[in-house]
């Protein structure tokens, strides 16, 4: 079992899948000669050649749509969208086409493809380059959306996504690429649609996904030193959403805090909060709390950016306040 980065896990899994299935190919901007904006695909052009690693013009609608068309004929494209911000330019091909091919035509064809793309702020990239808009995909029937937070999950969910016959939005995060973790090489693909309980606890449930799942774990660790037993749930799959796991946990702990990198109002956490408030109605001892980004176009200047984004500190504060509200004693 190797300890590798999230980046390496993605790279290695892509390579393995390309070796084992010649229908798998990579397509996107700057993934070949440039080796990927975030170097996930480094070395793959050299190893697999231009047919399997296809550099595209800057034409998100065009090359994402081309991947959809190729998938309809049975290939398995893995698209890299440089960041999720640019995916807006391809949204019509994803939402109105990829997601509808199977249903609209009565199940005759589908679009088995993986759309890899990182979200995330915190790098001073400014308002248009720091967004977390996975909601746009999680909302759409016909798409599946997964969001690994660890190198092991990156591997297991990428394998699952490539084995799936539907279009899968595979959410990465700029801040996770250099994080490390153990990656069992013989682990089976993950099950899409299942959340993971990554820390078992009894006092409070903290829910996150992607970067904020790792922040949640961090905060749980901090709190455990103070005798608080926090359960952490990593959603892993945003669509389908595993409501059962969420509700089961909150029925046990009686309270929950959601940690999300996107904007609060209408964000992914809204559905989580609504679902928990519904499914654990009789068990909740305090309102479900959400920690999310301030609702502003994210500023460039560091002090403002820092103030706007959720962090271990803000999550910690919210967890403590919730524990206080339910009368938890440390």
């Amino acid at each position: 079992m190797a300890v590798i980065t999230y980046r390496q896990a993605l790279h290695d899994t892509l390579r393995e899948e390309m070796l084992s299935d010649e229908n798998v190919f990579l397509i996107g901007e700057e993934i070949g000669v440039f080796e990927g904006s975030y170097k996930i695909t480094a070395g793959l052009l050299e190893e697999f050649g231009e047919k399997r690693v296809r550099d595209t013009p800057i034409a998100e609608e065009g090359f994402v749509g081309a991947a959809v068309g190729a998938a309809m004929l049975g290939l398995r494209p893995v698209v890299e969208l440089m960041t999720i911000n640019f995916s807006l330019l391809a949204l019509d091909q994803i939402v109105n086409h990829a997601a509808k091919i199977y249903g609209m035509f009565g199940g005759q064809s589908s679009a088995p493809m993986v759309l890899r793309t990182p979200g995330g702020g915190g790098q001073q990239l400014g308002a248009t380059h720091s967004q977390n808009i996975e909601l746009y995909y999680a909302f759409v029937p016909g798409l599946k959306v997964v969001a690994p937070s660890t190198p092991a999950d990156a591997r297991a969910l990428l394998k699952a996504s490539l084995a799936d016959n539907d279009p899968v939005l595979f959410l990465e995060n700029l801040a996770l690429y250099n994080t490390k973790g153990e990656v069992p090489e013989d682990a089976p693909p993950a099950e899409i649609g299942k959340a993971g309980v990554t820390r078992v606890g009894s006092d409070i449930t903290i829910i996150g996904y992607s970067r904020m799942a790792t922040v949640a774990t961090q905060v749980a660790d901090q709190l455990s030193e103070e005798g608080v037993s926090a359960e952490v749930i990593d959603l892993r799959s945003l669509r389908p959403l595993d409501r059962e796991t969420l509700v089961e946990s909150v029925r046990k702990t009686g309270c929950a805090v959601i940690a999300e990198d996107d904007w609060l109002t209408y964000g992914v956490g809204a559905e989580i909060a609504a679902s928990i408030s519904d499914g654990a109605f009789d068990y909740l001892d305090a309102p479900v709390r959400r920690v999310a980004a301030a609702e502003v176009p994210l500023p460039y200047a560091k002090p403002l950016e820092r103030a706007a984004l959720p962090s271990a500190e803000s999550l910690n504060t919210a967890v403590r306040q919730t524990l206080e509200a339910v009368g938890h004693r440390r």
Binding site: G62, M72, Q108, P141, P240
Partner: protein, 372 residues
């Protein structure tokens, strides 16, 4: 000094004057082309006539079905475009792939789908081309290679390009045809995909049906270069224009470009100048059309024209033509009967077509169902 690109003079003087009017210049020029019957066999020519008549009659019945509330949603007809449709489809093999816009009933039939299944789709029945889930705009049939009618203007262009990429990837010898309207050449997806297809040398023929109108907007109101085939130049792609009222000319041009694509992998663009005889969709009274323009469209009627041509050329006599017309009438009647007798989808199947691979926790809730 810098190099300078050729700058052709616009046909009319400024944007203002182009609004609401249509410059007829090019159109007349198109109509005057000598329509020879080419080297096609008499049997082929008669079959073209049969197919064109079938589409004509089918579309008239589709409109009627709409009036009778058997057909719903948007319903766009190929009336006036029959020569283009049949000419194009005759250039394709069954194994070749076709992507179209939402105006695709005729293409579906000419590509080889039973008219009954096409009508059943309009009627929203399980026997339809898309099991009744797609409707008029979204026909599909893997068997004959119709990879979809698409309702989003330009949406089919990237998909078609991607299908050609898959062919190239596998070294297959199929060709993709991507049909679209004149108005569609102004959308970003057109540009992105034309560039990609040319850059990567993909076997796809982009066909622009220039019926001079996108809903009520004329080509002159929407395209700075109104000779649409010239836009291929921006991608070093071959482009040409053909009289879409001439089934033989369309078949010849499309066949040549398709076979060239098959042999070399090179894409091309074909503009077929055509007419839309009725409104944009069944419900559009087309009040914005001038009397002359509507009259011109009626006069250009490709089915009537081809009929007379075949009769003058001795390929058909009046009886032979009438017999074909009776036969297609019967085909359409049968299609309607088939559609009418076919079952509506069962609401219990509502959730069967969202995902190809079932996964855990998929939402299968009706509006009145609680979340928990």
């Amino acid at each position: 000094m810098a190099e300078t690109a050729t700058r052709s003079k616009p046909a009319s003087s400024g944007s203002k004057s182009r609004r609401g009017t249509r410059s007829g210049g090019n159109r007349v020029q198109q109509r005057q082309g000598n329509t020879a019957l080419g080297s096609e066999s008499q049997e082929t020519l008669r079959d073209y006539f049969r197919q064109m008549s079938l589409i004509r009659r089918f579309e008239e019945r589709a409109a009627q079905g709409y009036t009778q509330a058997k057909v719903g949603g948007y319903c766009h007809l190929n009336l006036g475009e029959e020569a283009t449709v049949v000419g194009l489809m005759s250039a394709l093999r069954r194994s070749d792939y076709l992507f179209t816009n939402y105006r695709e009933h005729g293409y579906a039939i000419a590509k080889g789908i039973e008219p009954g299944r096409v009508m059943a789709e309009l009627y929203g029945r399980t026997t339809g081309t898309s099991k009744g889930l797609g409707g008029s705009m979204h026909m599909f049939d893997t068997e004959v290679g119709l990879l979809g009618g698409y309702g989003i203007v330009g949406g089919q262009i990237p998909l078609a390009t991607g299908a050609a990429l898959a062919i190239d990837y596998r070294g297959g010898d199929e060709v993709v045809m991507c049909q679209m309207g004149d108005g569609t050449t102004n959308i970003g997806a057109f540009h992105e995909s034309m560039n990609i297809a040319a850059l990567w040398n993909l076997p796809v023929v982009f066909v622009v049906i220039n019926n001079y109108l996108g809903m009520g907007t004329t080509v002159d109101m929407s395209s700075a270069e109104s000779e649409l085939y010239k836009r291929a130049v921006a991608y070093r792609m071959h482009g040409e224009r053909v009289d879409g009222n001439d089934v033989v000319a369309v078949q010849e041009a499309a066949g040549r470009l398709v076979e060239h694509a098959r042999k070399t992998g090179e894409p091309a663009m074909l503009e077929a100048v055509s007419h839309r005889m009725k409104g944009h969709s069944v419900v559009d009274p087309a009040k914005y059309r001038s009397a002359e323009d509507a009259e011109a469209a009626r006069e250009a009627d490709p089915v009537a024209t081809f009929r007379s041509q075949l009769i003058s050329a001795g390929v058909l006599d009046e009886d032979g033509a009438a017999e074909i017309e009776r036969a297609v009438q019967a085909d359409v009647d049968a299609a309607v009967a088939f559609a009418d007798d076919s079952p509506h989808p069962d609401p219990a199947t509502l959730f069967d077509y969202t995902y190809a691979t079932p996964v855990a926790n998929d939402s299968r809730r009706l509006p009145a169902d609680p979340v928990f």
